[in-house]
Amino acid sequence: MDQPIDQCLDTFWQGEFTLRPAPTDPPDPPDPDLPDLAPDLAELLAPLYRHLTA
């Protein structure tokens, strides 16, 4: 009965995740744009978004 305890300890200490997972296959369609912002908000934020993604 050691195995279940070991597994239980492994779960506690290890979890189950992947760092920066590879893209899934088939590839996602192109990213949709960000959720809608009202035009005036969009205008206010546009310089910041450009700065982030440039």
């Binding site: 009965m1 050691d2 305890i5 070991d6 239980c8 300890l9 492994d10 779960t11 506690f12 200490w13 290890q14 979890g15 189950e16 995740f17 992947t18 760092l19 920066r20 997972p21 893209p23 899934t24 996602d28 369609p29 192109p30 990213d31 949709p32 744009d33 960000l34 959720p35 809608d36 912002l37 009202a38 035009p39 908000l41 969009a42 205008e43 206010l44 934020l45 546009a46 310089p47 910041l48 978004y49 450009r50 700065h51 982030l52 993604t53 440039a54």
Partner: protein
Amino acid sequence: MYVLHAQWRVDGRLGVWAEDGGAFARRAGEGPRHPYACPAAEVAGLLRAVGPGAAWLAERGDERWLTLRLPTLGGRPTPSPDLPVGSTARGPELRPWRVPALLFDLPEAAQLLGELFDPYWPGTTVELPGGRAAELAYGASLRWLTGVHDLAWRLAGRGRVLPALVAEPGGWAARWRPAHDPASHREALALAAGCPPVARAEDGHEPTGSALLDTVLEALTDHETRVALGEDAPAAPGDGPAWLAALRGPDARLPAPPEPAEAGRLAAAAAGTEPLGRVRLAFRLAEPLGTADDDPDATVLDENWRLDVLLGPVDRPSLLLPAAELWSAGPGSAALARAVDDPIAAYLAELDRAARLLPGLRAALHRTRPTGLDLDRAGALAFLRDTAPALAAAGHGVLLPAWWQRRPRLGLAATARTTAPGSVRRAAQADRDALLDFRWQLAVGEHPLTQQELDELAAAQAGLVRFRGRWIEVDAGQLAAALRFLAAHRDDPQLDAAALLRLAATDGAVVDGLPVTAVHADGPLGDLLAGRLGRLPGARRTPPPPGFTGALRPYQERGLAWLDALGRLGLGAVLADDMGLGKTVQTLALLALEHARGARGPVLLVCPTSLVGNWRREAARFAPRLRVQLHHGPDRTAPDPAADLVITTYGVLQRDAAALRAVHWRRVVADEAQHAKNRAARQSRALRSLRSGPRIALTGTPVENRLAELHTVLDFANPGLFGTPESFREHYAVPIEQSGNRDVAAALQRLTAPFLLRRLKSDPEIGQQLPAKQEFTVRCNLTPEQAGLYQAVVADLLGRLGGLRGVERKGAVLAALGRLKQVCNHPAQLLRDQSPLGGRSGKVERLVALLGEALAEGDRALVFTQYAEFGARLQSHLRRRLGSPVLHLHGGLAAPRRQELVDRFQTPDGPGVFLLSLKAGGTGLNLTAANQVVHLDRWWNPATEDQATDRAHRIGQQRDVQVRKLVCTGTVEERIAELIDTKRELADAVIGTGEHWLTELPTEQLRELLTLSADATGS
């Protein structure tokens, strides 16, 4: 062995703590204190040992205690699985334990998680104070948090963030929140589901994985977005809302609670999720052609730039129509209607989204049938420079005029001219006979500007300027900075040859914020820049100098010219020709050349012990005018300043470091420089600390295992020129080794090309000068005795693997592999008894037969094995069976004895068989008397085996060389040989690390690789 863990605390600070494998056994449990967690100061020590970034951060952590609820067995917390101590007791319960930790505030926490992110190799070997090396593994809690940080960092960098106004304990604040796309959403879900419980073990605060992920991801996304915006983010308009300013700076707090409507609007935007766009937009900018319509003289350029919008279905990238067609109801519009429902609505919706990045589009939307925009010159430049990349990053198509990608840039051109000999400064740098005068000029692309052009540009308005018939981008600030730079540096010899070469070889080199667009030089430097020196068959050659008594082959004369040019420029060189192409001869020719020119002062040559005799003999033979001193052996005398060449070994260098440092050497030559590949090792440090003129590194394998080794060798030759090991790792080693990035590999090749010369035997010109090499894999059967032992070793290993983890598992796999190779060689090798060898090993019987045939043909053979002890037994066995003398060279022999064996073998009537240990005999020796090479057992590192083979297959070899690698059928030997043969390219990249990759294989694959197949005994 240490394991580093991390905890995201309820107060938003990051706690870092560590388990100490050494203390696991030593310290008994005592009260609530975790018995084998490191003291906080030791945690800081571990971080310091990881690297400079983590070291800097380690100073900024607060020493505090964490209370964690950890699985507890028998009154002690269980070790994490990374700690190789194992535990099989039963009945765990969660109990609180007090753990010393370092606590970090958010900015340092984010930086540290970024430093420690490593999806490939979560852990490192660290050198602790006192020179002790230890394995440091990153526990899952830490890895998980680095993964969350990495996701936050990527979201911020892609602009996938949205503002939100939130009420926090300290008042209202404006925060950036993640705005997931499908892929990042999936990634976040997986992280939440896979969150290790240890990451949520803070006593009194045990959130779900999903809640912890939300907390951490939100905090880190906000932080990383602010970092990405940086101080140079566009300023908020003075009359903009307060929350906009609070999104930019380090302080997220709002001076007053926001209007509920404002908070609601932003919240609605964040909550609103849209279906995927059905059409994809593309923006095409067309430049004005010809002159303005209304200019009768046709001298004023048309200023009308046009930005057209195109669209097509998302799932059919090839179908792209000008938006004008949408409104014309032509065939294109009909095709679109078949692919997309209501294409006009989809088009307008997508245009609305794009308008967020290109506000001018919004005005176009107000027209009845929007198809695009007219732009003036400034608008066109703003689109090209700022908006187009943002649109592309957001998934829209962008079609720009072809010249934009290749537009010549305004930058600096560096020109170097060799000054005439006898210049005033000559005396100050006596070891260089060419000095350089530098001059900076402004240039557009590669062409320096004349004064008149410079004046014209300065007078022209900034922006897109028509220049020499082409559009160029002129930045007024940059132009002013360039003019200032020129005024300050016009005739300032700020650069030396190394820096100039580096400028020329670096993509995107920048000086004082200005791009360097061209580098020109004459003399040897110009030759180096233009590739007229070194590898190409047409490159310059320097014939053998007076005082050099050998002949040089054409490629060696090119090598000599290259070494000489670098030396005259005061630069170090890495001569990395394949084994056997004459690195020794080229080096001696260089020293003879410099000696003939009147250069005086001792040159220090450092080499492995086994090569001391070789160097001495070759120097006496080829450069008899050089006064050679051996600084080696127990009776060695102090280095003689009157000697021309002082030969010493890496071992002596380490022992006599102080005495050798006291001399200023004219040059230092490191032979087999890969011996000093480990920067931290004492002999590497001793080598680098020598004071000398230009250095030379000789190596046949500049990259044996990892690119870091190449950096060490390059850095020895030209200290500091290739940056720190850390920056080299970040810019080159990681992208090349982990992602196979060919562009980066090419950039590294360009950067190192002037300083590193590598010719291969497979180069067509050189290949013609070497006899052929034929390689065979010889399959041998196991005897029943071998098969029985083999199966026993495999069964023992597979039986134990289930209970082993981490380094224990690796150790067990490596040990078993070693035992299997021994069984394949001979049962007596595994059993370590003195039982007779005859008739018990298929491989040894085959070897006897092969050698017997070779001797009968008048051939002579080298036999390589990794095992010195078995080699000794084999020597007497072969001697008896073959009735012929057999030599045996191994690491246990002193250098003079090794040299004696080599000399004896090389004599025309020397012994027919030379048994060598791979380690002691695999490099440096010249054994061209042999034309047969046998690898008795496999090292599974093609580079190492090829080096050994090259003892015989090298310049001086007159006959074709036959190479035989012996493997036992149906065993791990045969399977790995097949793996390497079929995936040689992969092998070069991956299996270069020897046998360690095998230890990483899952048990099932290991079973397949090791299990004996039925044909093994051939019966």
